[in-house]
Symmetry: C3
Subunit: 147 residues, 3 copies
């Protein structure tokens, strides 16, 4: 159980809005299929763990390739996905780095269709600052349906 | 593709919470059917573009009339709508004005019924400050099912 | 109709992120079944009103017992619930105390199943600070399907 407490005194408050803004940009890039720009919101050596993959995805090139593939499949199916991050539980870890445990939803809508709730997940990120910008260094996503 | 980047340095952070609070009030007024109070969160000459309308709705009177009509229909049907704005991507544009691109969900629940996801949308707003208060000057909503 | 207005000038902005972080911790504790830790985010004498209960739940012991019971039922059913608070409408009431009116969603996902929207609610809280920490002193939840 990785729920943080007592973060009010850790200086997280100053960065909470910045982290919210970061995720908004990050997810809008993802959902619009901007593969390279989205990959650039991770560090060069980032790892992304998913429950359906035996090994984590590593590095920007592999991350961008995965988004291009998924986005092409969705476009072919005439479907839009919207990723929502929420209930951001942020903890400062060291020097301008943050652990975030949040909930993640994916909504799916087909052209002419009825919107549906596609996934409920938990996302745990390590965010670090590189050249002034927040980037994801490590991500681990768990899916509630596979828990 | 209208995803913003590099906003961390634009002073948006100071206003991010205020914008979140603004949308909370704004949507609670809408969903409670407070037509005039809701219309007052737009500028006098505001425009509101919807994919199902050939022309934008213009001005507070027309906006309030639209809400009164919708709210009466929902009340007759015994249904409540809840508008959620999230993943707020905020960019400062000039002097205390903001462009916001965010996701919008509408949840619908009938008395005695099962809640359902009614709409997934993207909302783009221009917010300006008038007499100290943020107001919507332009809104464009797109629906994922009509994309 | 309990929608707040004109809060931009009340000093709420300084605490908006802290309140978001509070709810993130609070709901993650709830959904993970951490009954005592969750109950400790209420004041000793807190009241929690639900539309399905004739009397409010009072005090940490009763709150923790309710969560233990619910969590055991969900575990037996192989189901995970995720509580989302959003659209936080925050108003300062006196000395470092806050009234929050927000929307609340509950998503439910069974192991191997399809995620579903379980509840749409409105939550009204009075938050107070005790020994430096925000705590819930009063909570009233209404369910849209029972409205």
């Amino acid at each position: 159980m990785l729920v943080h407490r007592d973060t009010a005194t850790t200086g997280v408050r100053d960065h909470y809005c910045e982290i919210q803004q970061f995720y908004a940009e990050h997810m809008q890039l993802l959902d619009s299929g901007a593969a390279e720009e989205w990959a650039a919101t991770f560090t060069e050596d980032a790892t992304f763990r998913l429950p359906t993959l035996a090994e984590p995805v590593r590095g920007r090139q592999a991350l961008a390739a995965a988004v291009r593939r998924t986005h092409a499949e969705l476009a072919a199916a005439g479907e839009v996905h919207r990723h929502w991050h929420g209930m951001l539980n942020v903890r400062a870890i060291g020097d301008d780095a943050y652990h975030v445990r949040c909930y993640a939803l994916v909504f799916a809508t087909a052209r002419g269709g009825t919107p549906r709730l596609h996934r409920t997940c938990v996302c745990e990120d390590v965010l670090v600052r590189v050249d002034g910008k927040l980037l994801v260094r490590e991500r681990t996503v768990t899916r509630d349906d596979l828990a």
